[in-house]
């Protein structure tokens, strides 16, 4: 079991969700986050004062999958989230020790899908 965490551009979320649907990966958690990578911050002007924030709005996806779904998940995210510009984001893949379905108490691979 792996936990896949992807940080992507907010406007790419719809494309990524559609691509994941195509690969039949339906279970995920999505949150608004801010962060910074190599992309420079956005400039905004308030009453004449320019402010460049270091932190940018991003969207974080968390998807827990069994081994055979790891590659399809990664390729779906990369395909849909890539613009080729700086700031497209990153994907982190972590080993997942355990997973429990709260409703039934099931554990492990059965509980994940």
């Amino acid at each position: 079991m792996k936990l896949i965490i992807a940080i992507i551009q907010p406007h790419k979320l719809e494309d990524v969700l559609q691509e994941l649907d195509k690969k039949e990966i339906y279970l995920k958690t999505v949150s608004n986050v801010i962060g910074c990578g190599r992309q420079k911050g956005q400039t905004q002007v308030y009453r004449g004062r320019k402010e460049t924030g270091n932190l940018l709005k991003k969207v974080r996806l968390e998807i827990a999958v069994n081994e055979n779904y790891v590659e399809p998940t990664i390729s779906a995210i990369v395909k849909a989230a890539k613009t080729g510009g700086i700031g497209d984001g990153k994907i982190f893949i972590l080993n997942l020790e355990e997973c429990v379905r709260i409703r039934t108490g099931e554990k492990g691979s059965v509980a994940i899908g």
Partner: protein, 411 residues
Amino acid sequence: MINSGDTAWVLISTALVMMMTAPGLAFFYGGLVRRKNVLATMMQSFFVLCLISIQWILWGYSLSFGPDKGHFIGSLAWFGLKGVGMAPNPDYAATIPHLLFMVYQMMFAVITPGLITGAFAERMKFSTYVIFTLLWATLVYDPVCHWVWGAGGWLRNMGVLDFAGGIVVHLSSGISALICALMLGKRRGYGREPMPPHNLPLVVLGAALLWFGWFGFNAGSALAANGLAVSAFIATNTAASAAALTWMAIEWKLAGKPTILGGATGAVAGLATVTPAAGFVSPISAMIIGIAASLVCYTAVAVVKLKLAYDDSLDAFGVHGVGGTVGALMTGLLAQKIINPAGNNGLLFGNIGQFKVQLIGVAATIVYAIVATFVLLKVLDALMGLRVTDEDEVVGLDITQHEESAYTLLD
């Protein structure tokens, strides 16, 4: 003779109509768009208030209400308000200063192009919007306003009844909005991605402010603190309530649940529809107008728009264009001389001629607004481009057009 009661009421009405554009329309439309576009959308309403206030003083009022030229447009004799002073102008309002009539009408000229912004929300280039608004007000609003309300205007001479601007304001802007939606094309991802309103409380606030301001719009159009103003006030409130109830009832029946967005939309549709009729109809007629408004506008917004697949983003055409048309025609059916001796009887009260005149007024305005808006957009498209770039649209207009954003994630 200046009457102080009349003057006080029209002063207040002027401020009420100002409130319809910003904050009313700004909140109503601002809440309906996605969060990345809320400021840009509110900016369009705010900006039009400032821009047309100046245009109106310089040449707009003169073109609309100035000395008649060929029954089509006012002359520039009143450029910069030359000769428009404290003395009343009996052609328009015999008991209030001419200047007050001018500034009251200014607020109508302001909100009309503001209504159109609902059609091209979330994709119009701001610089083009500025030029479009200035030219549209001058080339479409001012002439149509002169036809219907200006002394010597050909529709006024013919006897077209438009109490507070069903034709002049809602029909002219609504039909132009449809042309804008068609010529700008759909928003990226329209029909493929969900585009839910980002803040419904703002929408409800905006709709309620519109309703509140509409008392100035319709009851103020009596241009006096008298029984006619009271009658128009009641017609306005009655139609808005009946329309909101009807819209929610349709939703309850067809979709299972009544929604606050449906109620707000229905109220605005009812208000737009009763506008031309407000000073000519009885409370019961206003109720019928409100019910008809929601039946027809709901069909336009929920059925026709989807079938024809144009992206009238915030339903400027579906509510104002369709509502204005229905209202102008229903005025031809339900108007009564008992309510307003200066008006006329409609078809249902034995005067077929009035309905024909209303039809001519509606048809002429539709044709003129379509042609003028089409040509104007073609020229602006060639000179400056109508839409923001695809990338700017994806990032959002707040950042790309104005370098600011409405909501932060932390703090």
